[in-house]
C-alpha cells in the first residue's frame, strides 16, 4: 500500500491518493492534499464543502448525495467544480478524508 507524508506524518493512501483511514484526517491533511487537486489555497468556501463532507461521512458512513451537498453548502455544481476542479466525488472527497466513492459514477 503506498503512503504519503504530509507535514511530517505518514498516511496510507490508495492508488488514487485517498487516505485509507478517515479517523486520521485533520485540517492538515486537507491542506496537504490541496495542491495535488489543482487548488492553490483553501478558502472559506472550500472548507465549507470539506467540513460538510467530513461530518456527513462521520455520521452516515458515506458521502452525501451530490445534490444534497450542493443544497447544504449553498453552492451549485458549477461552483463546486470551480472550487474543486476534479469534482465533488474526487477532489472534494479526497480533501475531506473520505474513501473514494466508486461504483457507477
Amino acid at each position: 500500500m503506498p503512503t504519503i507524508t504530509l507535514s511530517g506524518r505518514q498516511f496510507e493512501v490508495d492508488e488514487d491518493g485517498f487516505i485509507q483511514d478517515p479517523a486520521q484526517w485533520d485540517d492538515a491533511v486537507a491542506n496537504g492534499l490541496a495542491a495535488g487537486e489543482g487548488i492553490t489555497a483553501l478558502t472559506e468556501d472550500h472548507w465549507k464543502v470539506i467540513r460538510y463532507l467530513h461530518s456527513y461521512y462521520t455520521e452516515f458512513g458515506s458521502a452525501p448525495m451530490i445534490r444534497k451537498l450542493c443544497k447544504e453548502t449553498g453552492f451549485n455544481l458549477k461552483t463546486i467544480y470551480q472550487l474543486f476542479p476534479t469534482g465533488p466525488a474526487k477532489g472534494a472527497c479526497k480533501l475531506a478524508g473520505l474513501p473514494k466513492p466508486t461504483g457507477c459514477v
Binding site: F60, G61, G103
Partner: protein, 469 residues
C-alpha cells in the same frame, strides 16, 4: 454517418500501457479469490480454461470457429478509438485462442507452436489483463460477425480464469465487496440511504407541494424497485422520476437496502459473483413480500435480471407475473393503461436523442419502450444514425467494469464513435437509462468539449408527468 472526429491510425501497442489498478488482498480475499499469484498459476489457469470449456458451449465453439475474416475489427469502439490492433475483437479473442490452441487442441498439443498456439506466459497474462479490461462486453462485434461470435463470452471467460489465480481489477472487486458488505455498489449504508431518500422527498415536496414518498424496506409493497445505487448519489432526477411515476400510477413500491443495487459486477468477474449478486434481489423481494421486481436505469442490470435471474436464482413463481420488469416497460404499461398522464411541454427547449445502452439493446431486447416514453414526454426527439442505434448501438465506452478513473484514456478514446454520432444528431441532451452510460457521457462531453447534458429517461418522464394529490 460522417464521423465528426478524425479516424485513428493503426498503431500496435497504442493502448498497452493503459491498465486498470490490480486488486490487492483487501478486495480479493472477501470474494474467495487467491490473494497472490499461486506458484502453479499456469496449471491453475489452464485447468480453469478446461473447466469453462466444459461448462459453457459458447467458449470452445467461439475459439474453434473464428475464421479471422476481420469483419468485427472496425466495429469495436475501443479499436476505432485507440487504433491498437489488440483491440480488434478477433485479436482480443486471439489472446485466449492462442493459449487454447496450444493447450487444449490435439494439433496444439502434438506440434506445439507449429499448431498456431502460444504458451501462457507471464507476458501473455499481462496482455490478457490489459486487453480483456479494454473490452466492455458490449457484444457489438457479435452483431457483425458472420458466425455470431460473441467476444463478451470470451472476455468473461478470460476474466474468470484470471480471477481464479487472483488477477482482477481493484474497481470491480472493490465494488463487489461493497455489494456484499453494504448492499450496493456505492457502499451507501442504510442510514445514508434513508437520509438521501428523505432529502429527495423534501425536494419533491418543495417542487410540487405534494408528499411523494421514496419508501425504504417497505414490506408488502406491490413493487420492489431496484435502482443502480449511483442514482442515490449522482442521478437524483432519475430517482425522482421513479418516485413520481409510482406515485402518479398509484402503485405501492419500495426500495431495499439489502438489494439496493441493480448492477451486477459479477458479470464483469465470474459466474459465482453473477449468481450471488443476482440472488440478493430475489431474496429481498421474497422477504419484503412484493409481487413484482422492477429494475431501474442500469444497462447490465437488465441483462442479469431479464436473461439470467430465472435461470440462476429461480423459479420466480412468487412474483406475479413470474419475471422481472424494466422501469421503462412499467412506464409504458402505465401510459397504455392510462394510469399516468404526461405533458411534453415540460421538456420544451430540449433537443433530445436516445443512447441505447449496449446491454439493454443487444442483451436485453429493450429498444422500443424507452423511445415510446421519450416520444410521449419530449417534443423534439431525434434519433442518431441508424448504424449506431438499437442492436447496432455503440457502447458509451465504459461498460463491462471499465468505469475506473485510471482507464480514462481508453474510456475517452472508446467514447469517440458515440460522441461523433451524438454530434451529428444535433441534439443537446442525450437520454439513456444506464448509470454507467450517464457517468461516462458526462466525462466524455467534458473531454470532447461538447456542450450537452446526459439525463435518464425517468428524469424526462419525471418532469413531464402530471402529479395530482
Amino acid at each position: 454517418m460522417k464521423p465528426a472526429l478524425p479516424p485513428v491510425p493503426f498503431t500496435p501497442g497504442a493502448s498497452a500501457a493503459n491498465r486498470a489498478h490490480r486488486a490487492g488482498a483487501k478486495f480479493l480475499a472477501p470474494l474467495g479469490l487467491p490473494v497472490d499469484l499461486p506458484p502453479d498459476w499456469q496449471a491453475s489457469a489452464l485447468r480453469k480454461l478446461d473447466e469453462l470449456c466444459q461448462q459453457n458451449r459458447a467458449l470452445p465453439l467461439y475459439l474453434d470457429s473464428c475464421v479471422r475474416c476481420g469483419a468485427c475489427a472496425d466495429k469495436c469502439q475501443f479499436f476505432l478509438g485507440t487504433g491498437d490492433p489488440k483491440n480488434m475483437p478477433v485479436a482480443r479473442a486471439g489472446l485466449l485462442r492462442d493459449v487454447y490452441r496450444r493447450h487444449r487442441t490435439m494439433g496444439g498439443r502434438i506440434v506445439g507452436a507449429l499448431g498456431g498456439g502460444e504458451a501462457l506466459t507471464e507476458q501473455k497474462l499481462e496482455e490478457w489483463y490489459v486487453y480483456f479490461h479494454q473490452c466492455s462486453e458490449c457484444r457489438r462485434c457479435a452483431v457483425f460477425c458472420p458466425q455470431g461470435i460473441d467476444t463478451a463470452e470470451i472476455t468473461r471467460a478470460a476474466r474468470e480464469i484470471m480471477g481464479s489465480i487472483g488477477v482482477a481489477t481493484k474497481y470491480v472487486t472493490e465494488v463487489l465487496k461493497k455489494v456484499h458488505e453494504v448492499g450496493n455498489n456505492m457502499g451507501i449504508p442504510e442510514a445514508a440511504w434513508r437520509d438521501s431518500c428523505e432529502f429527495l422527498e423534501e425536494e419533491m415536496k418543495e417542487e410540487t407541494g405534494i408528499d411523494i414518498r421514496i419508501p425504504v424496506n417497505g414490506e408488502g409493497a406491490e413493487v420492489l424497485l431496484v435502482p443502480p445505487s449511483a442514482d442515490l448519489f449522482a442521478n437524483p432526477d432519475t430517482m425522482i422520476g421513479y418516485a413520481k411515476l409510482f406515485h402518479a400510477a398509484g402503485v405501492s413500491w419500495t426500495t431495499s437496502t439489502y438489494a439496493g443495487e441493480a448492477g451486477n459486477f459479477g458479470l464483469f468477474l465470474n459466474h459465482e459473483q453473477l449468481k450471488l449478486v443476482n440472488r440478493r434481489i430475489v431474496d429481498a423481494a421474497r422477504r419484503l413480500g412484493v409481487r413484482r421486481i422492477v429494475m431501474g436505469e442500469c444497462g447490465h442490470a437488465w441483462r442479469a435480471a431479464q436473461a439470467f435471474m430465472d435461470t440462476l436464482n429461480g423459479p420466480l413463481d412468487f412474483l406475479d407475473p413470474p419475471r422481472p420488469e424494466h422501469i421503462c416497460e412499467f412506464a409504458v404499461r402505465m401510459m397504455e393503461e392510462r394510469r399516468i398522464e404526461v405533458d411534453p411541454a415540460a421538456n420544451d427547449g430540449r433537443k433530445v436523442t436516445y443512447h441505447d445502452p449496449c446491454n439493454l439493446a443487444r442483451a436485453g431486447g429493450l429498444v422500443e419502450e424507452p423511445r415510446q416514453i421519450l416520444r410521449a414526454v419530449v417534443r423534439d426527439f431525434r434519433e442518431m444514425a441508424a448504424d449506431t442505434t438499437r442492436g447496432r448501438t455503440f457502447c458509451c465506452g465504459a461498460g463491462g467494469g471499465m468505469l475506473a478513473d485510471e482507464l480514462m484514456d481508453v474510456r475517452m478514446k472508446g467514447a469517440k464513435p458515440r460522441m461523433a454520432a451524438f454530434q451529428a444528431s444535433g441534439a443537446d441532451h442525450v437520454a439513456t437509462p444506464c448509470a454507467i452510460c450517464k457517468a461516462q457521457f458526462a466525462a466524455a462531453f467534458q473531454y470532447y468539449k461538447i456542450d450537452a447534458q446526459v439525463v435518464g429517461v425517468m428524469d424526462l418522464l419525471g418532469r413531464a408527468i402530471v402529479i395530482r394529490n
